[in-house]
Symmetry: C2
Subunit: 653 residues, 2 copies
């Protein structure tokens, strides 16, 4: 903060200037020019391209003959054509193994998740049959294992139960589920088609960590019904009503169910722990759920445990998915709730699917086109809604198993689908004796993986505001509701961005002695003030949201600098470094004119440094109308501005 009298004088800079330029170059000061002219149409085209096609998907079409273009287009929409022509037996061996492994996980999880969504268990199996086949044709991820997932099931169930009671009106509930799935698919596909996929980016990592953990706890709490054998369970989801309901119904608890539940829960947790410790043994935890189902079913069957207060799934119809096109309901009464449910489950499942796809793609070093994935997931759900499936996506846990089991192509999804098909055709009667408590245990163990304490700690270490967002999502989900918790977290994240714009940083810069580098005085101690100048750098776009703030804040900077003591030279120039100002709007332009007047009131002159691209263009256009700055108050670098202006600096008497 001191050091104005440390001997740098202006001549020094003049010398450095001569030193800096190669001999023979006349121009001492570089002119700031507007960027090369572009027509408005071209500019808009460029902006639209950056917004919607940042990945330049048409690159490979350029300069190709028409026939090739068609072929490429077909390949673009059907990624299966990329790998089927080169498919080999050895690839199939890997895919067969991984397909069977994820099938063993998909069958018990499918049944469990359908129950979580208050749907008949068989819908969970249907949803593990058709969508994986569709994804195998359209999807570009090699690792994604497709099927129903816990959080989307939870949300769909919770939202639809607000409109219809699934136990008194199961047919209508099912119709609403299919219709919501259709809307989810249409929403997902259209996000991909109109290339607005970046909307899912607004679910930041912090939001997702908090949300997932909260949802996992809500899902686990719902399983207390199955785990304790309660028959009259609350319909609410929050932690408080569920715990109250659990305590109130303690006379319904069945010790046989609790005993069985504890046993299988311990078994599943143990296998999970083993697989985490030794990743090579991934198949232990992958096979454990199916093993639990088989063991518990046999147990119930042989010991007639259903007579001892242990509830079982009951008879399931054999056979494949029927068409469900006639079950789609566009009745005005329920249109609102199905669209809302579709939108929310759609965006949540899309986020999970794309995130999982990206994670494994980056592990294996290939790339995923987010928009294409959205179309694939969307179409999969549209087709699903017409074939008795509810909302599906790429599941994290099963994709991880798929990856560990060595899958090579989406063929593993086909293998899984065929296995599920065989189950649907032949093995359905066996599930009649499967106890519900085992399904509850399977869900609990599956969702435990969604609670990522390490990630939360990492966020806490890195960024306190992000951690706040994370905690808000978590608490919002468990205490208010799943949707509102998510909305709060997204709102907070966006508010944070807006706050950064509304209260942009203004840095006061100083010169690092002996160089022409200017850096923040409060960051670099070597940086020293230049007598007579106040050098400010604005670090945000200047627009309606911050012009009032900037005006006040810059005024305060100047007052503070002017009132500082021990100043031999009075302030004469305010240099505004615009390098980081990437955009201005009309409010911003008005701000520049106001600022010039404000600064003049303090007896100072305003100088702009390095307005970039669009900003320079707009400044120039505004200047044509209002003529508020001359070319002598525009410089390319701070050091050139200081150098040129320092000869005008008068020393105070």
């Amino acid at each position: 903060m001191d050091g104005e009298h440390n001997g740098i004088d202006i001549c020094n800079d003049d010398n450095s200037d001569q030193r800096r330029h190669s001999p023979g170059m006349e121009a001492v000061v570089h002119k700031v020019v507007a960027p090369p002219k572009q027509s408005t149409v071209k500019k808009i085209k460029g902006k639209l391209k950056e917004t919607f096609f940042p990945d330049d998907p048409f690159k490979c079409f350029k300069g190709q003959p028409a026939r090739k273009k068609w072929l490429l287009a077909v390949k673009y929409f059907f990624p299966i054509l990329d790998w089927v022509p080169h498919y080999t037996l050895s690839l199939f061996k890997s895919d067969l193994l991984s397909g069977l492994t994820i099938a063993s996980l998909a069958i018990p999880q499918g049944i469990s998740y359908a129950k979580l969504a208050s749907l008949p268990p068989i819908i969970g199996l249907y949803s593990s049959f058709v969508p994986p086949l569709v994804y195998a044709v359209l999807g570009s991820s090699r690792d994604l294992a497709v099927g129903p997932v816990s959080i989307a099931s939870l949300i769909m169930g919770a939202m639809l139960r607000q409109a219809v009671n699934p136990s008194t009106d199961p047919t209508l509930f099912l119709q609403l589920a299919f219709t919501s799935t259709l809307f989810a698919g249409m929403f997902q596909a259209s996000l991909g088609i109109i290339r607005l996929g970046f909307i899912i980016d607004f679910l930041s990592k912090a939001t997702l960590v908090g949300f997932m953990a909260g949802a996992a706890i809500i899902v686990a709490l719902q399983q207390l019904k199955g785990l304790l054998g309660i028959t009259h369970f609350t319909k609410e989801m929050g932690i408080v009503p569920v715990m109250i309901s659990v305590v109130r119904t303690r006379n319904e608890w069945s010790w046989q169910t609790v005993l069985m539940g504890t046993w299988f829960l311990s078994f599943l947790l143990l296998t999970r722990h083993l697989s985490i410790k030794k990743p090579k043994l991934f198949w232990v935890s992958a096979g454990a759920p199916l093993a639990s189902v088989i063991i518990s079913t046999l147990f119930v069957f042989f010991f007639k445990a259903q007579d001892y207060n242990i509830s079982v799934i009951g008879k399931l119809k054999s056979g494949l998915n029927g068409p469900s096109l006639d079950k789609l309901l566009f009745d005005g009464t329920y249109l609102g709730i199905t669209m809302k449910t579709g939108l929310i489950t759609g965006i949540i499942s899309l986020t999970e699917g794309v995130a999982v796809g990206r994670t494994f793609a980056s592990l294996k070093g290939y790339q995923i086109d987010g928009n294409k994935e959205m179309m694939a997931i969307g179409l999969m759900n549209i087709v699903g809604s017409c074939t008795s499936c509810y909302v599906t996506t790429g599941a994290f846990s099963r994709s991880a198993v798929n990856h560990n089991a060595g899958c090579k192509t989406p063929m593993s999804n086909v293998v899984m689908a065929i296995t599920v098909m065989v189950t649907l055709l032949l093995l359905m009667p066996l599930f009649a004796y499967t106890p519900n408590v085992v399904l509850a245990a399977i869900i609990i163990v599956a969702v435990i993986g969604l609670i990522d304490i390490q990630a939360a700690y990492h966020i806490y270490k890195m960024d306190k505001v992000d951690f706040l967002v994370c905690i808000c999502a978590f608490l919002g989900v468990i205490f208010i509701s799943v949707q509102e918790g998510l909305a709060i977290a997204v709102g907070l994240s966006i508010f944070r961005i807006l706050l950064q714009i509304t209260r942009p940083k203004i840095e006061i810069l100083g010169n690092i002695q002996g160089t022409d580098i200017y850096r923040n005085l409060h960051h670099y101690r070597e940086a020293k003030r230049i007598p007579g100048f106040i050098i400010l750098s604005v670090e945000a776009p200047i627009n309606f949201a911050n012009t009032n703030y900037l005006n006040e804040r810059i005024r305060r900077w100047i007052e503070e600098e002017q009132s500082a003591e021990n100043r031999a030279t009075s302030l004469q120039y305010t240099i505004l470094d615009l390098s980081s100002v990437i955009a201005v709007d009309t409010n911003g332009l008005a701000f520049f004119m106001d600022l010039k007047k404000t600064i003049a009131k303090y007896g100072l002159e305003l100088v702009f440094v390095n307005p970039v691209g669009e900003v320079m263009e707009k400044l120039q256009r505004a200047n044509e109308l209002h003529n508020f700055f001359g070319t002598d108050s525009l410089f390319l670098t701070i050091s050139e501005a200081v150098m040129s202006l320092s000869s005008f600096i008068k020393l105070s008497p």
Copy 2:
């Protein structure tokens, strides 16, 4: 795009480096350091201060004795104490003149605006009596003329009419109006108290221009009822239903009313035109409304025009405002609508009041504290709601007249209030014969000033997106509804900001020959690529909303650069200039690590330049955990990075 072989070689830079440093300095490369350590508490305190107290309102309290502090605090809350002690007779002369002038405008406008809000005309006069007195004590603007305004009246009427029919249930309607006013006041005052006044900044100039013009048209259309003498007018506000209603009721049109309306409308427009041409004759247009009221009233009285299809106001009760505390209604049925109405009229009227205050303050060269103004306007409405007033604020047109008439202090509001008081006590019987058509003409002429075509054209010239926002606000207001038009425009403005963050600019930089300046290659033709390097500058905070985009986009830059032909030197370094990256979150930190890996896949090394303050801190913290970059890949300036690394560049064979 060419020019890699233009003879700059790396030695050149090495030389320039030696030239750049003063003799005797050893350090060739400056170290990037973290900013001085601050405790988390101190950091949070600093951020909160910048967010909520950017104007540093406690500055004047510092180092003062306790008694002085008290005095200053009282002065802070009662700005009247600033000017009353120095008040002189000559100041009063000016204030008397301007006060009488605005009173002559306030009386007819008050009656008209109350009718616009479907309230009894006398409420408009009440609202021009108490609130100005409150503002005179609490307000800090010297020019603001306080009273009811057209747009807030329009919105309040439109919103409350959705809940209650003012013609069948006038008492309830009045109660709702007072209650909404209370909520508006509470909302406004609390924005000021919790210092969230920046919320009104989100109404950008473009939004306001479009919104005001749309609202003016809606208000003017409503006056067709009075102007044509229609009795069965539609309750809707949109341009389409109003025009349909006007045509359908053409048999109700009264030619006497139309004649009288046209006459007074022409008279008022003429005086307005005159005052615009010759600003010194401002009193002509200021006095014209009152003159019209007097002339038309006398005309009706003497010619018994009310018998010829010309509707008149009718008998008005004399006397001052009664208390209305007992009329505030917190009934559950109407709580929602009154709160919503209060919120929207509150924010709209606050925006108008603060904007008007700021405009005239900047004309006269004094300052206005936005948060203090909000408290003043809020308290004025709270007091108003208890004394039979509806929502008031600083009106633009009357403030302009006040300013032109030479007002010096808020005393002009007191003069106006006293004039209105005299009117209320003595002159009310005279208004019984005032024809409604004159009030319609007065409103139309008053709102014409809100349509600012010049401003819209200016916005069009400066910024096309802003113009789009403006047009959306305009069309939304006239075709959908006033509130929704506003919401669309605000939503668009915020979406634009988010889009700037979601699709940040990445610039590719080149060296301006013979200097160490690096600028955008596509902006400065003098800037040339440095062989072996790709230098990118990211121009936004890096966070969840843009990490996916940045990753893809940077990959594309590298691919494009690598595939460019005629390259003697293969790319070896990617320099990422972080000067403009003002913040990162946890997603951003993960992005840096990902990017390093991605870039390594292309055989390139990643180098960071000039991470500022918080970004440097977080990078360091992330590096402690993950150790993903060394100190040798961190530089203070691009030119130092190029200089240090260029010795490692290998020329292609």
